[in-house]
């Protein structure tokens, strides 16, 4: 600006004006990331922060401004903090988001009272509205230079020429009606936070703060009989970086000690530990999802108590190593061995799993299914079989030769032809025992004569696999 450059100037012109100009390629991804980082930082003022790409942010400060000493002071804090970091900031406060955006286009620091939007945006050029380039050029060609000029025309004329979208935009800018902003994160049900005039950096203070916040949060939830299913602790660093740590639970949490413990486990297990840098000046604990807690009588029914303990244990383990690593198993309606069970996160599916109906075993029979099942059947080498569709006499698995002593089979399992287009072959399973007494579940992929043929109809040798190990 000082050198006489302006936004939108062609590069050749800029170079002509200012020959020593250093040029950088535009990096929209990095710009967006920076915008997101700034939005993270803005989370300290309000939970409702929306992106307005490419370089705008909306903050819904309804009911928040008084916490920072009023609208004027809040605007000052935001502008000063961002300018200190070297950003060119233009900010405004008004009754509608579009009016505020329009105001920022030509000046910074304006605060417009409710109802005074039309007067404030009226003198601004139409380009400040942020409408499509075609619309802006159209308005200018029609001789409508300022927003006030456009507003003075009858609304039906404007919408007939420039479309209903533009009329809506114009109305919002003039303060007649408002569109809600779309915040980046869903609004948590409960938020408690603690601000520090002097940044804190030691683990002990952080832990103490978290436990006192947990108490406050539980007290707030308790008044409405709620418990948290999802908790998020956000650590706002003085240099603007924000670290959010999420913990999910299987059952609504209602005890501060439990929240405390979950976060301790989670913080201990972080791959990149919490880095306080020059210290945190704000720590916030939010309950993202809450549920109504049903109080159960505990002293008589011990199983209720046991279930509580187990889900608390699952929550603790999940907080440390991740919810997907703690699983329960549910049966699936499929006769394909590898699809007969489903492993689902225990936090969400513990109740379903404990009520699941597994197929009954046949009394008096030895085990018909292996105890260990390979996710992907492992190929084995079978030199020959006495009859083409019979069991092998020996096979090589993992470079070790196994002589087959006992065989039972075949158990023929056809693939689910109604689900896939005939790609999978029918399997003949054999339960075999080798000379050492190890028991395997092996299968031949495909039926002789019918399935195992190449394009010309010549028979091809079958592939054998080991699919599981019996006890």
């Amino acid at each position: 600006m000082r050198a006489g450059l302006s936004i939108g100037l062609p590069l050749a012109n800029a170079r002509a004006i200012c020959p020593e100009l250093t040029v950088y390629d535009a990096d929209p991804a990095a710009d967006l990331k920076t915008l997101n980082d700034i939005a993270d930082w803005c989370d300290r003022f309000t939970p409702l922060v929306a992106l307005d790409p490419p370089y705008g942010l909306f903050l819904d400060i309804t009911g928040c401004a008084h916490l920072f000493g009023g609208e004027r002071a809040l605007l000052q804090i935001v502008t000063n903090a961002l300018s200190r970091r070297g950003f060119a900031v233009s900010a405004a406060i008004s009754g509608t988001s579009i009016a505020a955006r329009t105001l920022t286009r030509y000046s910074s620091g304006q605060i417009v009272a409710d109802g005074a939007e039309a007067a404030a945006v009226g003198p601004l050029p139409v380009s400040a509205l942020g409408a499509d380039a075609a619309v802006t050029i159209g308005l200018r060609r029609a001789g409508l230079k300022t927003i006030g000029d456009v507003a003075a025309r009858a609304p039906h004329e404007i919408s007939a020429r420039f479309g209903a979208d533009f009329t809506t935009l114009l109305n919002h800018a003039l303060g007649r009606g408002d569109a809600p902003i779309s915040p980046r994160k869903p609004l948590p049900d409960y938020i408690v936070e603690k601000r520090f005039p002097e940044p804190i950096a030691t683990d002990t203070v952080i832990a103490l703060t978290l436990s006192s916040l947990a108490k406050m949060l539980v007290a707030a939830m308790d008044r409405q009989g709620k418990g948290a299913r999802q908790l998020e602790a956000s650590f706002f660093r003085t240099d603007g970086a924000v670290r959010a740590i999420m913990v999910e639970t299987g059952r609504p949490v209602t005890r501060p000690e439990m929240i405390d413990r979950l976060f301790r486990e989670r913080l201990d297990a972080l791959n990149d530990p919490l880095d306080p840098g020059f210290g945190f000046d704000l720590i916030r604990l939010a309950a993202g999802r809450t549920e109504i807690v049903v109080q159960q009588q505990r002293d008589l029914d011990t199983t209720v108590h046991d279930n509580d303990e187990i889900s608390a244990l699952i929550d603790r383990i999940a907080a440390r190593i991740g919810g997907k690593r703690v699983v329960v198993h549910l049966p699936l309606e499929s006769h394909i061995p590898e699809r007969a069970a489903l492993a689902l996160p225990a936090q969400q599916h513990l109740a379903a799993a404990s009520a699941a109906a597994w197929p009954e075993r046949v009394t008096g029979e030895p085990p018909l299914r292996p105890l260990r099942l390979f996710e992907r059947p492992e190929p084995i080498k079978v030199p020959f079989a006495s009859v083409p569709d019979g069991p092998p006499h020996q096979f090589t698995w993992r470079r070790a030769l196994h002589a087959v002593v006992r065989v039972e089979g075949p158990e023929r399992i056809a693939m689910e032809w109604w689900k896939q287009d005939g790609a999978a072959l029918t399997r003949d399973y054999f339960r075999v025992e080798d000379a050492e007494g190890q028991r395997f579940w092996i299968f031949r992929d495909g039926l002789y004569e019918s399935e195992l043929r190449d394009e010309e109809g010549r028979p091809v040798p079958a592939n054998w696999y080991v699919h599981g190990l019996f006890a």
Binding site: E309, R316, R320, A341, L373, G468
Partner: protein, 264 residues
């Protein structure tokens, strides 16, 4: 001088006795395995609230898994079971199949599986789970030589098991035994099915279980069979398939056949 040394020795013995005391106190409610001579050797059965180790002989993961599943089924007695496994173990030995577990007579509904990324997090998770007295047993499955599973780690597991009363079972595949505080240590390999018709099915799972360490008694080696329906171990049966009892009111089979032949 000599007297002082004796005194020191006596006090040391006393303190060792005190350290050993909790496991002695837990003696009475031992859980019988069902195999008579093994139970006799174990003075009534497997001690709950203690650490037991099962080593797979060689790489025979299947048999050792079956054996430890049997132990877990015995000690957990319809209470939930936590099975901590390494990701790597799944790939090497296959994942635990729920249908297979049900076939052994255990209830898949009571199983919570934890897939630990490495031995350290597996150990920590197992110690955590052992502190929860609502569980029946905790199985920790470790593949290969894990230097993390040393005396200190096993002591931690033992203490956690004693404090809560939950039994800790450690399954080691492709590993050699190293000193630990385990109550018992077994080396398990698959045993042959009883002789019979080769084309005929095998019978119940059979293990050749070698008790190589027993803190409070002698060691031994047995062929054990797992009875899936009764959910307990037993002496090996002579027949692979259940055999119908000889009818009391009919002549012996051989005689009957002979009679038949005579008549024809």
């Amino acid at each position: 001088m000599n007297g002082a040394r004796t005194g020191t020795l006596a006090s040391l013995r006393g303190s060792i006795a005190r350290i050993e005391a909790p496991s002695e106190a837990a003696m009475p409610n031992r859980i019988a395995l069902g195999h008579t001579s093994a139970d006799a050797m174990l003075r009534g059965g497997l001690a709950p609230a203690a650490l037991h180790e099962v080593f797979a002989a060689g790489h025979q993961g299947g048999a050792a898994t079956g054996f430890i599943a049997g132990l877990a089924g015995r000690v957990s007695a319809r209470k939930p079971l936590v099975w901590v496994r390494q990701d790597f173990s799944d790939r090497e030995n296959g994942a635990l199949s729920m249908r297979g577990l049900a076939e052994l007579g255990l209830d898949p509904r009571l199983l919570v599986t934890v897939r630990a990324a490495d031995v350290d997090s597996g150990l920590r998770t197992a110690a955590d789970a052992l502190a929860c007295d609502a569980l029946g047993a905790v199985v920790l499955e470790v593949w290969g030589h894990a230097r993390q599973l040393d005396l200190v780690a096993s002591r931690k597991l033992t203490l956690a098991a004693q404090a809560s009363g939950v039994t800790a079972l450690v399954l080691r595949i492709a590993a050699t035994p190293i000193p630990s505080t385990a109550e018992t240590r077994w080396i398990v390999r698959a045993a042959h099915s009883p002789p019979g018709n080769a084309a005929c099915a095998w019978g119940a799972p059979r293990f050749e279980a070698e008790l190589v360490r027993n803190r409070h008694g002698p060691v031994g080696r047995w062929i054990m069979e797992w009875k899936c329906d009764e959910c307990q171990f037993s002496e090996p049966s002579a027949h692979s398939q259940p055999v119908a009892a000889t009818p009391a009111h009919r002549p012996h089979q051989a005689q009957a056949r002979a009679g038949h032949r005579l008549a024809s």
